[in-house]
Symmetry: C2
Subunit: 355 residues, 2 copies
Amino acid sequence: MSTTQTNKIEILKSATSKINEVDFGNLSFGSVFTDHLFECDFKNGEWQKPVIKPYAPFLLDPSSRVFHYGQAIFEGMKAYKDANDDVWLFRPDENYNRFNKSALRMAMPEVPEEIFMNGLNQLLQLDEAWIKKGKGNAMYIRPFMIATGTGVIANPSHDYKFMIILSPVTSYYSGDVKVLIAEHFSRAANGGIGAAKAAGNYAAQFYPTNLANQAGFQQVIWTDDATHTKLEEAGTMNVFFRINDTLFTAPVSERILDGVTRKTLIELAKSENIAVEIRPVLVSELVEAAKNGSLKEIFGAGTAAVVSPISGFSYQDVYYDLPKIEKSVAIQLKDKLTNIQNKLEEDTFGWTVKI
Amino acid sequence: MSTTQTNKIEILKSATSKINEVDFGNLSFGSVFTDHLFECDFKNGEWQKPVIKPYAPFLLDPSSRVFHYGQAIFEGMKAYKDANDDVWLFRPDENYNRFNKSALRMAMPEVPEEIFMNGLNQLLQLDEAWIKKGKGNAMYIRPFMIATGTGVIANPSHDYKFMIILSPVTSYYSGDVKVLIAEHFSRAANGGIGAAKAAGNYAAQFYPTNLANQAGFQQVIWTDDATHTKLEEAGTMNVFFRINDTLFTAPVSERILDGVTRKTLIELAKSENIAVEIRPVLVSELVEAAKNGSLKEIFGAGTAAVVSPISGFSYQDVYYDLPKIEKSVAIQLKDKLTNIQNKLEEDTFGWTVKI
């Protein structure tokens, strides 16, 4: 390893690269990581010297609070390489701001913008060879923070570790997605942490999702926990419904994540003159629309899959198949968005940021 | 380190002990750990060879799912040493069974009883010198399991690590505890994971508790998230209310932890001819009882503090002070229970188990 100093980040370069061991045509999402990671520790009430170093396991005490009390947050972002080998981020300020909103809700320190953004940029520059060109290819970026303070007492940690790791990905095809509308299980409470990208929100979904899988469904559409009458999210994504020619999606709330893809699709749809209504959508409306044929599409929206079309849903043991349509708004918006992200189409919104 | 084999657990003994560095008269709860820990990994669909080894940090990959998706559960138990130097556990079957209920809800593998109980017993035997005699002294036991599988995709891990760590503790005096009744924030959703000892449930409480602390309250009494009219838990404890001569506590549910101290206090109270009603307790009832003077006591119940008396509560910006009483049921039950746990009084219930 050689040590250099760049913009205050200490950079410890890996002596060798793993890149030649990777089959970029056959990547399993989120399973391959680049040569380096970014790390910055929070101790004694302040952020310590940031470092980029070889991706490797690290040591934690068995009593670290992340293990016992789940004090942990993350973000999901992507970087894209254009035809000129320039690398672009998509709306990184949205992820940065949301990361710190999650930090606040989980009683963790905010990460300064300089640490987050410089760390991200320099890590991407160092592992730039891992970002492949062409539509569908991207670098998935995972900033995350964990409580590293020790002691088995349920109080906020004093010490934290902020890290960024990078995983090259290709377009995410989830296959035929049938969903089950939740009638009992929930992902978020009123006054809870559903709007934060807190680690604990995700493991809470695994068991209900396993049950749905066993019943033949790939995902769960979550409903409000108090009445199970309002449609909220699909799996780990925001969700849109197209009834006739209008798109519907729930407003963000303390139960519903303020998704970057969600807000981007809303803006894109408006620019394409597609009507969008942001309001609570009732299960009963969806069932009625499925029955009378006005329900045309359902799709999830998130960073990993971008847009994930849903082929049908089950509610109260009745399965409602969606029509096969020629002109899918989901695909139209996904094409538009991925063209902008991959710099194949002009970004008139100012969403893409060159590193 | 010397290696020996006992009942299939590999034992790697620490070459030296830290015990002489510890001030047992001045222990901060959950901050000091004994010389050894118990560890058993789950890989390839089965539990691997268990091991007892020196307490030390261990390596984890940055993409370990515990960091990103909060797949982690724990238990809290205590062991006590009697006047004859025998070591006793208190209702360990309750903790074992609840651990596996938590595992099921968090889509984690169940830990076989032999691994859990033999690990616990042999670890306590090895570090037996750390368990101090006398009322108030105990060994706090923290079994926990974390998802160690790698990959940033929100699915259950394939790999897990189950560990037991030990922390010597003295009686937990929390000082004067004033509580704030939650009017907005919540700890659990209907159809959520509130009944599991899942790591993510705890970090979710830190921010609302910090806000309460800043307003001069030591804890929050959580209410149901849908209506905020029902009293559910106090901080990380179950909660009891004494109105006139009857104790009230909420029934366990998918929002309320099935606490071992809670169920023990209910049985103890009944044996002492104290009336106990298990039913939802409304905030409005509490306020009314405080106003008319029939509210005598509020106390939390949990393994760490055993019984934690509360001196008053705030609701809708009005503070209700509880009367100073001579014959506190909280203290009566706590004395009875700690006497049984410390083997100072006969255990007619069969709760104590010798290791």
